[in-house]
Symmetry: C2
Subunit: 191 residues, 2 copies
Amino acid sequence: MAELHKILKELIGLTKSEWESFNVKLNKKEFKARTLIIKEGSIAHNLYFIESGTLRTYHLRDGKEISTYFACDKQFISSFSSFITQTASFETLEAIEDSSVYELSYQALTELYKDSSKFEKLGRILAEKNYLCVMDRTLTMQTRTAKEKYLDFIKNYDDDIVQRVPQHMIATFLGIAPESLSRVRKEISIS
Amino acid sequence: MAELHKILKELIGLTKSEWESFNVKLNKKEFKARTLIIKEGSIAHNLYFIESGTLRTYHLRDGKEISTYFACDKQFISSFSSFITQTASFETLEAIEDSSVYELSYQALTELYKDSSKFEKLGRILAEKNYLCVMDRTLTMQTRTAKEKYLDFIKNYDDDIVQRVPQHMIATFLGIAPESLSRVRKEISIS
């Protein structure tokens, strides 16, 4: 909890009383690895701040799980388009590891938006971050080789994610075959 | 100008005095068709509100212009990732038709963010809209047939854009060959 307070202080300059009005709206949750937190087709009612653990979103294409986002300790995640539009999600949000998170509901966040411009700023920063991530991934997918994609991934993503997320999930995220990813990782470790 | 005032009143509930502090920061600009407003590699210093006309963003892949976004009358556009990060743009912003726009600089918007939570809300809404657009386009590109892609496009995009944007630009936006788009349009008009 101290971590989230620190992050919000840095990000949006939250005062003690603003933190308290934020804090009371959070619910602590524990998820076992492989728990499906938001299922495709349902509405994402919550945004999650990860205290410890790793979560991902994915969608199904021809029965295959295509990863679309990863987040670990001290990061936010949801099925973001479902969360901001409050419509059915085309993604599933899953815990990859046993995870400890703080949950903030859409309704609670909407109330916070009315309380202070700092929470609007938080909403803006989250939307911008999600935009940049999906834009970067789309461009990378369209224009790069397998090696360039992976180098871009390890540059942009947290070390913890690079280490802790299973390789086959990273491969679908990058739109490359697991064997190509394995070859690229060998090449990089040799060079 | 009255149109922009009306839109902002509806979107973020701008009061008369807030509108005035916004209004003084705008510059009116006219662009001839085919003007490159932001070039790939430069920084997008401005966000544009279109009074009349049509603009698009595109990037080059193997020398081919791939359209990434369209906007027309009463809509906002920029090279959005460059604008929010103030780093070099990977896209070009171009006027497709003779266009009349209001320009708002990044610096001016940053000042407005400090003035009122309503402008933070505007920033959040713009980021969310851009996120939903790119996410939808990415998913559509990956999972739909040419016909589904075009039907999705005419459902989600303004009629004016569907009518006024040249077909070959829509084709690259949807990731389909111009001939496929032409075939699909014929099929739809017959059925």
